[in-house]
Amino acid sequence: MTSRTPIDLLPRAANVSRRGFVTGLSAGIVGAVATEAAGAETLADVPDRGPGADLSAHSERSRFAKIDRIPESTPGKRNIDPGDAINSKTPHQKLVGNITPTDLHYERSHSGVPDIDPAQHRLLIHGMIRKPLVFSVDDLKRMPSVTRIVFIECTGNGWENWKKADPDVTVQNTHGLVSTNEWTGVPLKFLIDLVAKDKSSNWMLAEGGDGAGVDRSIPLTEEIVNEAFVAYGQNGEPLRPAHGFPMRLVMPGFEGNLNIKWLRRLKFGNEPWMTRWETARYTQLLANGKARQFQLRMETNSVITHPSGMMQIQPGYNRISGLAWSGHGKIAEVEISTDGAKTWMPAQLSQPVLSKAQVRFQMDWAWDGKPTKIVSRSTDDQGNVQPDRQSFIAAMGTNALFHYNAQQTWSIDEAGRVRNVLA
């Protein structure tokens, strides 16, 4: 049986010979040792083994792993008091794999996080239906359930780069408003059948139990009826309060704001309600002064997370890695350019590649030490290609605020410093 190292499984860039690859790898390790202030020069320096801490009721992160979200506000408003924050961003630059840890899933709330006792929470379903019903959390848990891994993305994800690119930001600042979790709950279709919806009802109002009573009109397309669900589980445990405890709507592939948290009411009707959120807020102002409305689906997107903003790399071997996702379906391909979008090479996708979920991509790269730019570009199984910034801005202008999915470019200078640039 042939033994293969994990590195052999990775696709190699055409310009990296086997010999050059190994040389580059050594250089990279030397570089890493130099920059990380050697903790253990020889094996003799590694601390002795010994009895560890007592077992515990639940696991905490290592004290050596510093990973946090960062609360932020509108574009450019960073390093703010949490009391002034309107969202809290996922640290993609410190994460691996496809799934976002539950406590690091991004958060966007419009009136804080309510402290809801599930025993006192109720879901009312009424409107154009035959049987208006009230459900408790336990009622929902007794029903047939679905479990699905999906991304949820705030429509403001990427909004730092509409008008300019602040160089000193991380991928957490630019793309921290998308995360992927496994959610468990009751199919919307099951609830619709239970309440005997009128055939003529094709819009649904979903309303939250937060102070703002956030509400959105949802078109009952076949796709939405078949895929939406009312979730009470998140990565195997009850929803976290920040993510809608005790129940929320999950709308795979659609605007984060439609995934109503702390869900307490579903009302069936036959036209949209024109709530503040779908008129004054989550609409996209174009250059001609008109605003796109009901742009409900999240677009085909990707971003390189390693290396990314504010990191520093060494010449030689570098692994490029990132995340890709699409509200249209599965990611079919991710390409990476290491020469500022002149030439592209295919990246490897981590399995499984799921519809409307983030997938990690990676590629080997030998950096020659010369200044350059790295970019990723995703394509989904419906044929949608993530646009370059120039054509994206030509179509959307720079005032849209939401639904930014242009390709993200990171520049690398002669010292290996990685910075945010427009293209």
Binding site: L124, L133, E271, T279, A287, R292, F294, Q295, R297, N399
Partner: protein, 182 residues
């Protein structure tokens, strides 16, 4: 809710449960009309859902000063939170100012939003007439109704907001076309 209506609900719920056939409501329980009313607060662009009552600009100005100006500023401008007035003519500029007057397409949405979400620390604390009055005041700040104007459930849906035609529905989810093909 008064203790009287709580008693009504309790009786109604018991009767409802007893009357339900064994398999009729396997999950949940019937929602009673009286309790639905408590939560059924949404207002549509045609005015559906607007309650009886009315409010004028003048009392609205005082209610705004007492409940809203701390965040939204005097006259709906210059506060720490969303600007509510002005901004007309800025939507094509590099610094668009989106306010009720420059951007919001429906006056009904203003009533709905104030009623459900404002004032931020105590949402729903304004009475129906107070909510109409604040709505009237914000509309008057934007020159949409006169300083001696008032609004109610008849007049509010008839107001044509300055940016009413400023929205282009995404073709995939255009309410005018969706579900009409079959």
């Amino acid at each position: 809710m008064s203790s009287h209506s709580k008693l009504f609900l309790a009786v109604a719920l018991t009767l409802g449960l007893l009357a339900a056939p064994a398999l009729g409501f396997d999950f949940g329980r019937p929602a009673m009309p009286e309790e639905i009313k408590l939560w059924d607060i949404d207002v549509g662009p045609d005015g559906k859902g607007l309650p009886d009552g009315s409010g004028a600009v003048a009392p609205g100005k005082q209610i705004f000063a007492d409940n809203c100006a701390a965040c939204h500023g005097d006259n709906g401008q210059g506060g720490i939170k969303d600007r509510l007035a002005g901004g007309q003519g800025t939507l094509t500029s590099n610094m668009p100012v989106k306010t009720v007057g420059s951007f919001w397409p429906y006056a009904t949405t203003l009533f709905d939003y104030i009623h459900r979400a404002m004032p931020y620390p105590t949402p729903g604390s304004l009475s129906t007439d107070e909510t109409y009055a604040v709505t009237a005041y914000i509309l008057s700040l934007n020159g949409i109704i006169p300083a001696d104007g008032k609004v109610d459930k008849e007049s509010l849906p008839k107001i044509k907001m300055p940016n009413r035609d400023g929205f282009i529905p995404e073709p995939e989810f255009d309410p005018a076309k969706l579900f009409r093909k079959k």
